[in-house]
């Protein structure tokens, strides 16, 4: 049997990512915290959004679980939010990071209690807070995500990710399973297999097309973002292009044009990491079927997937059935319902 504490054991910095609002991310965080507390680990918690608030910022009919931290845990929050905590805490460090809810501080709880987590707004700043917490003695730092945001899973911030999925995604179990599989596929995009290609891609400073001999054709940033159709003549002129390397966001409209231009000829589309890939309604499988395979410079380990069988104020699934179904879609990944205590074997 796998418990969530075992699943995250290899990663010192763990990101929690939800596939939507109300997929049970906070509950997953709570389960991880209580297991780490039982193991006596020194914990730090920061967030890319805000978590632990009593009621939902969109629908206040949805009440949310509090985040309970052990004594001596480090937490990133803001002073007004810390004032509302029920635990005594000392401010270990005031940061320069500004948020709509005040300036971020790193606090150390002097006793067990609940607190709202609110780290910096920008991922780069979150990375700084993570490093600071490690310096202040946190053996393990948890980076709580927000809504459907993935930026916290960036390898700059985290060594592995726990993904939360839930009934809120769809009232249809097949749809829910499919959307979870597609999201997991993007999150676990493989590192570029060919070491030579990897080296060439990593050395590029801007987005570019890589030809067979290693020659790079730089791409204007506007092609990558907006004038995506301009890539079609470029690819038609150079049939020996083997890879598209994007420094920044790799989006569905661009991949769509690439697939069309190549007419089935194989090409690898490379992004820095999975948080830079935006497939919208598309899937990796569809691009693969057109010859375009996706890869990243740095892969992100998917440590576990948690399931929430309840869509608040709407429908619910049988917890055991949901775990089984998601586990069947994701071979090799531990799937758990941390409330029902239902782990599926990896």
């Amino acid at each position: 049997m796998v418990c969530i504490g075992d699943a995250i054991a290899p990663a010192a910095r763990v990101a929690l990512v939800g596939l939507a609002k109300n997929t049970g991310k906070t509950v997953a965080l709570g389960a991880i915290l209580s297991e780490l507390e039982a193991r006596g680990e020194a914990i730090g918690v920061t967030s890319i959004g805000r978590d632990g608030e009593a009621s939902d910022a969109i629908d206040d009919a949805i009440s949310k679980p509090p985040i309970r931290l052990p004594a001596m845990a480090l937490v990133a929050t803001t002073e007004p939010l810390l004032a509302r905590s029920d635990a005594r805490a000392e401010i270990a460090l005031r940061t320069e990071h500004r948020t709509p809810l005040g300036r971020v501080v790193i606090a150390r709880l002097l006793e067990r209690g609940t607190v709202e987590v609110a780290g910096p707004v920008a991922a780069q700043d979150v990375a700084e807070v993570v490093e600071t917490m490690r310096r202040l003695g946190a053996g393990r730092v948890l980076v709580d995500g927000s809504i459907d945001r993935r930026a916290g899973a960036s390898p700059r911030l985290a060594d592995g990710v726990v993904m939360s999925t839930g009934a809120v995604l769809s009232a249809d179990l097949d749809q829910l399973a499919r959307r979870t599989r597609i999201a997991a596929e993007v999150m676990t995009l493989p590192a570029v297999a060919d070491p030579e290609l990897r080296e060439q891609a990593a050395a590029l400073r801007t987005s570019a097309l890589l030809r067979d001999g290693g020659e790079a054709i730089p791409l204007d940033p506007t092609i990558v973002h907006d004038r995506v159709e301009a890539i079609v003549p470029l690819l038609r002129d150079c049939p020996d292009v083997r890879a598209l390397v994007v420094r920044g966001a790799l989006t569905e409209p661009l991949l769509e044009r690439v697939g069309r231009a190549r007419r089935g000829a194989p090409l690898v589309a490379i992004a820095d990491d999975a948080t830079r890939v935006f497939l919208g309604g598309g899937t990796c499988a569809r691009h693969r079927s057109r010859g375009v395979s996706l890869a990243v410079l740095t892969a992100i380990p998917l440590l576990a997937v948690t399931t929430n069988p309840v869509a608040p104020l709407r429908h619910r699934f049988d917890p055991h059935e949901l775990v089984e179904r998601i586990a069947a879609e994701l071979p090799g990944v531990p799937v758990l319902d941390v409330l029902a205590g239902e782990p599926a074997l990896a």
């Binding site: 629908d59 509302r84 460090l93 966001a249 989006t251």
Partner: protein, 264 residues
């Protein structure tokens, strides 16, 4: 008896009717019951027994159509809120008029601030972004386009996030304004988070202020989404301009600030 002059703290705030702390509230609602004694008793029972207010008094009752009655009631609320325990929201931003913002930017920043705005995704509502950005503004206050020290670009409605970003990077903007009508189940949130994620993916999140606005948007939601501020109803163009100006100044280190603590 307490008076306004005696008021010392915000730790127990109640509705104000005729005098401080009387807790007086006014309610209006329609019940699907024929006008008459039963409807009146139902209205009083709802307010007194279910809503938790005391001393309800019907001051107006009017039949709408057969089967429906409209009421206006007064009642007293015994509860109070402790404002000291609410999250301070944008306390750092000082309110400024159009002229004050222009003078502040001229003095502290010394170059025009560039702002781009749009209603993104499938959202066709452009009235919010127009009232903040366009010359005309609203309620007699100019939009940012009229400010001497602002350069603006309004892309209108139904703009894809990628198109908005491409233009934003081209113009090297200081702030991106997104207007979005968020629904109860949060169905439109994805558009807002995707914009943040795209900016993050480009490694540009620190270079630009992200501001969202709309009827259901708050600073709490903005924080959750990863934005720098969230503006809702009752926001005037000068509020947004003051925020952008002060935030840009603070981030470039040219504004006096409350920072006396050690840096990260």
């Amino acid at each position: 008896m307490s008076s306004v002059a005696q008021r010392a703290s915000l730790d127990a705030v109640r509705p104000y009717g005729d005098h401080l702390d009387d807790g007086l509230v006014q309610l209006s609602f329609t019940l699907p019951v024929d006008h008459g004694p039963l409807a009146r008793e139902a209205a009083l029972a709802l307010v007194r027994d279910k809503m938790g207010l005391i001393k309800p008094e019907i001051v107006h009752a009017k039949p709408l159509t057969p089967g429906f009655t409209y009421f206006v009631l007064f009642a007293q609320c015994q509860e109070a809120v402790d404002c000291d325990r609410l999250a301070a929201v944008r306390t750092a931003t000082r309110a400024m008029s159009e002229e004050e913002v222009d003078a502040y930017v001229a003095e502290r920043i010394g170059r025009p601030l560039v702002v781009i705005g749009a209603s993104t995704g499938t959202d066709t509502h452009s009235v919010g972004i127009d009232s903040i950005l366009n010359l005309k503004g609203f309620d007699g206050r100019h939009g940012l386009e009229a400010y001497h020290w602002f350069r603006t670009c309004n892309l209108g409605s139904q703009v894809p996030n990628t198109a908005l970003l491409a233009k934003a990077f081209e113009l090297e903007v200081d702030a991106i304004l997104v207007s979005q009508t968020v629904t109860q189940q949060g169905l439109h949130l994805h558009n807002l988070t995707e914009l943040v994620e795209l900016v993050e993916a480009e490694g540009r999140r620190r270079d630009v202020l992200l501001i969202c606005g709309g009827p259901r948007i708050s600073d709490e939601l903005a924080k959750e989404l990863g934005f720098d501020a969230g503006f809702s109803k009752g926001t005037y163009p000068n509020d947004v301009a003051a925020f952008i100006a002060q935030e840009v100044a603070a981030r470039s280190g040219s504004a006096p600030d409350d920072a006396s603590a050690p840096e990260l």
